[in-house]
Symmetry: D2
Subunit: 287 residues, 4 copies
C-alpha cells in the first residue's frame, strides 16, 4: 500500500488535482518548474522539494501532469528527472496528455531504471479537475494501477484500466475526436439556424429536451449564444488531438471523413488566431 | 376551446400519437389510407371516417402525421382532402416532416379555404411517440397553437412556437443535422477505437462519464456494439434531412463542411443498401 | 436541310454565338429581352423580330441561350413564347444551362405543340464562344441534331449526341463537377505552397511540365498569381453546378466526398461576397 | 566540371534514370542493395562497386534514388554509407522522395563530412523516367545544382532550383496534393456519370476537348474505362503524400478542406486493399 505520493506539474489542471489529494489527507511532495506555483499548496500541507528526481526518490507513487510531450520527456529524462530518482519498485504515473510514442519512451526508461509505469491521461478540463470528477484513462502496469486507485478516487469520479501503455493516449484521442466532431456539429447547426431566421435559444431548448441532451451541448451552446470564448479547453489543443486522431486513422487504416473535415475547420480557426480561445471559438470561422 | 379532434395518418408515429390522445379522453375521428390500421384505435374509442375531408369537416382541430411531402400534399389537396372539409375557422395541424415549400403551399391552401394552419413537426421517434414525450416544433397560426396545447401535452413533453410557417420544418432540419453529425462522429470514433485495439465497451463507459453523455450516445453506442440496426429512425430519412440541411445552407449562404461530409457518408450507406436500417447502420460503411 | 435560323438570348455567350452564325452566312432572326443588345448583330446581317414566338415561327431551327431555368421557361412558355410559334416540324435547340427537369418540361411542351426539341448546353465560356470553339452537348431529337450540325460547327469545335433529353444537362454537371474540384485543388495547392515558402511561379512551371498540364491550370494559375478575379466563369454559377451535381449524386446513389467538400468551399466564397467574380476567386477564402 | 558519377538505387525509377546517364556516355559507378539488378546496366557500361561508400568515394557527384526515408537514411548513415565516402568537396544528390526532416538530416551529415548536398525529388513516374522526361525539383547547394545540370538534362526535361533544402520535398508534396485531388475528382465524375446513365467514353472525349484536357486526365481516364489498375504510381505512395501535405498544412496554418477529403478517400482505398495498385484504383471505392 502506497503511503507517500509525489505530484509534478502544478498548472491549471495539476494544481487542482494535487489539491484534491491533499484535501483527502494524502501526503504529497510537489515540484513545479515555476516554483512560485507551489505556494498555495503548501498551506494544504504539501512538501516542496527541489527536483522531479527528488519527488520520485521520496514517494511510493509519483504523479505528473505537464503541458505537452516535450515537458513530459524533460520531467522524465532531464538531468534532475524522475528516471534518476525512481529506483527499485517505485511507481510513476504520468497523467499528461501525450502521444503514444512519447508514452512508450517514458515507460521504457522508467522500467529500465527499475520503476513501474502507468500512463493515465484524463478526460475533463478545469472544472472537473477542481471538483475531483475527472475520468482517468490508465494503461500500463496493472499492479501500479491497483495501488493508485485510492489517489485516483480523490481526483476523479471514474478510472479505467485499458491495457498496455499507449492505450490511454489512444483512448483519449478517440474521445476527443468525438468531442471535436460534436463541437463542430453544434457550431454548424447554430450557424445554419441563425442564418435561417431561427432562435438559438429555442434550438438549445429543443436539443436539451431530446436525445442529444448532454452537458457538452448545454455548456458550449450557452457559450455560443453569448459569444463567450474564454478558454476552458483551448482550441489549439483540441485541433492537435484531431490531427493526431486522423494520423492514427492513417496508421491503422481507418478512413475518417467527418473527423478530417472537422480537423480542417478547427485548423482554419487556429489560422484565424483563435487557437488560445475555447473550442467553442470554432464558431467564429463558421462562415 | 377545441372539443373535437381528428387524426390523419396512422403509421408507426401517428398510431402511437393518436392513441395517446384517446387515452387522455380526447374525442378523435381517424382516417388512414390503409383502413385496416384504424382497427386498434377503435377499441380506444376512436371514430373511423371515410376521408381526410370528413375528418376535417367534423373536427375543431385536425392533426396529420404522414410519411412524406407527397403524402402531405395528397392529404390536403386530394379530391377528398382536408382542404375540401376545413371550412371556416377550423384548424389543421400538420405534424408530418416536410420541406418548407410544401408546408407553405399547404398553409396557403388551408387559409384560402377559410381554415387556420399550424405546422408542427416533431423531434423524437417511435419510443417518444409511444411514451408521449415528443418535442413538438410548431409554427404558423399562433392562436391555433394555443388551442392545440392540450393535445400537444398529451403527445409530447415539450412544445414550442417558432414563428412563421416554415420555421418548424427548418428547426427540425437543424436538429437532425446535429443528430446526423453526432451519429457519424460516434461511428468514426468507435471504428477508430476498434482498429486501434481499444474496447468499445470502455469507450462508451468513458463517454457516459463525461460531458458528451447523452441518451443518443448511450442508445446508439449500445446498438453499434451489438451491430443491431433494427430501425428506430430509418437511415434514409436522416440522410434526406442532411441533404435538405445542406441545401438550406446553400440558400442562406452557410457553408457546412462537416455536415456535407456526414451527408456523403450517409449517402454511401444508402447506396450500400442500408437505407431502411437504423441510422446507426452508417457504421457498416465506416471502412 | 435547314435554311433559316433563329437565335434568342444575346448576352455574353449568345451574342458571340449568333455572331459566329452570321459570319458563316447563316440567315438568322434574333430576339433579346433588352432589344438594344440586338443592334451590333444587325450590322452582321441579323433580322430583329418582336418575340420568341416570331423567331420560332419564322425559322427552321431556333437556338436559345438564356441565363437560367426561369428565363428558359419564360422564353418557351411565355405569352409570346417559342411554344406558340414552333408549329409542325420546326426545331428548337435550347443551349442554355438548365436542370434536367426544366429541360424535360420544355421538351414536352415543344413536342406537344408539334415541334422537335434538342437540349444543347455548352462547355466553354466567353472566349470559346467568341472563337467558335465551344463543346456542344446535345441530347433529344437525333434528327434535329443532324440538321443542326452545320450551325454547331459554326459555333463550336466539337459536338456530341448524348441520347435522351436530360443527358446534356447531366453531362455538363459532371464536367463542371470536375472543373470545380480541380479549381479548388489548384487553389489549395497554391495556398499551401505560399505558406510553405515556395514560389507560385515555379509551382506553375512544374505543373505545366508534367501530366497535370492543361489550359485550365495554366489559365487559372496565372490569375491566382495576379490575384485577378475578373469574371470569365462567374463563381456563383460554378457553385450552383456543384450543388446540382451533389444533388444528382443523391438521386442516383453516388457518394461524392471530394465534390461535397469543394461545394462547401465555393459556398463559403459566395457567402464572402465573391459570387460574381471568376471561379478563381475561391482562392480568397482559402485561409 | 564533374567527370565521374555514381548512382545508388536501381529500382523501377533508378534503373531507368541511370540507363539514361549511361546512354549519354556519362561514366557511372552503380550500387544496389539487391546486386542482381545491376546486371542490365553493366552492358550499358556501368561499373558495379561494393557499397554506397565506395560509390561516393569514387564519384564527383553521386545520385541516389531509393524507395523511402528509411532507405535514404540507411544509404547515407549506414556503416558502408555515402557519408563515409563523400570526403571533401564531392557532391551527393538525393533524388528519392522523402520528408523534409529526413532531407535536412542527410544534408547536415553530408556537410559535416565535408561534402555538398542537393535534394532533387522528381515529378513523373516510370514512363518519364524511361523517356528522360522527368521534372527535377532541386534544392540545397546551388553550386552543386549547376554542376549537376548536364546529368539532369540526361534524366529529365526540366529542372528547377527551389532554394534551401526541404523546398524540393515540399514542392513535390504540393504537386502531388494537386495530383491526388484531380485523380479523386476524375474518379467521382466518372462514377457519377455512369450512375446517371452517361457514357464514360463521351465524358472523356468532352474533357479532352476542353480546358481540363491534360495528359493525366487522358491517361487515367482511359485506365478507369478499362478498369486497369496496373501500378504506374502506386496508390499507397500518393496517399502518403496526401497525408504529408495535410500535415504540412497543419504546420503552416493552411486549411485544406478538399485535400483532406481526398486523403480520406485514398485511405479508404488503401484499407480496402488497393494500396499497391495504381492511383486510378481509388475508383474502386467510389461507391
Amino acid at each position: 500500500m502506497a503511503e507517500s505520493y509525489g505530484f509534478i506539474g502544478l498548472g491549471i489542471m495539476g494544481s487542482r488535482m494535487a489539491a484534491n489529494l491533499l484535501r483527502k489527507n494524502f501526503k504529497v511532495k510537489i515540484w513545479n518548474r515555476d516554483g512560485a506555483k507551489c505556494e498555495p499548496l503548501l498551506t494544504l500541507g504539501a512538501q516542496k522539494v527541489g527536483s522531479p528526481r527528488e519527488v520520485a526518490a521520496g514517494s511510493d507513487i509519483t504523479f505528473a501532469m505537464v503541458s505537452d510531450p516535450a515537458a513530459a520527456r524533460e520531467v522524465c529524462f532531464g538531468a534532475e528527472g524522475v528516471a534518476g530518482g525512481i529506483g527499485e519498485g517505485r511507481g510513476y504515473v504520468d497523467m499528461s496528455t501525450v502521444d503514444d510514442e512519447t508514452s512508450r519512451a517514458i515507460a521504457e526508461e522508467i522500467v529500465r531504471c527499475g520503476g513501474r509505469f502507468l500512463e493515465a491521461p484524463v478526460s475533463g478540463t478545469k472544472k472537473p479537475a477542481e471538483d475531483g470528477t475527472l475520468v482517468i484513462l490508465a494503461a500500463g502496469d496493472q499492479e501500479l494501477y491497483r495501488e493508485s486507485i485510492a489517489a485516483f478516487e480523490a481526483m476523479g469520479k471514474k478510472h479505467l484500466f485499458l491495457g498496455e501503455v499507449g492505450n490511454g493516449a489512444r483512448m483519449k484521442l478517440v474521445v476527443n475526436l468525438i468531442l471535436g466532431d460534436v463541437m463542430a456539429a453544434l457550431s454548424e447547426g447554430m450557424a445554419l439556424g441563425k442564418k435561417a431566421g431561427l432562435s438559438g435559444e429555442q434550438l438549445l431548448e429543443i436539443l436539451e429536451a431530446g436525445a442529444l441532451s448532454s452537458p457538452m451541448i448545454r455548456g458550449k451552446g450557452a457559450l455560443l449564444l453569448k459569444e463567450d470564448y474564454t478558454p476552458s479547453f483551448p482550441l489549439k489543443h483540441l485541433q492537435k488531438d484531431l490531427r493526431l486522431a486522423v494520423a492514427l486513422g492513417d496508421r491503422v487504416g481507418q478512413p475518417l471523413h467527418c473527423t478530417a473535415s472537422a480537423n480542417e475547420v478547427f485548423k482554419r480557426a487556429v489560422a484565424a488566431g483563435h487557437g488560445d480561445e475555447d473550442i467553442a471559438a470554432v464558431h467564429q470561422v463558421s462562415s
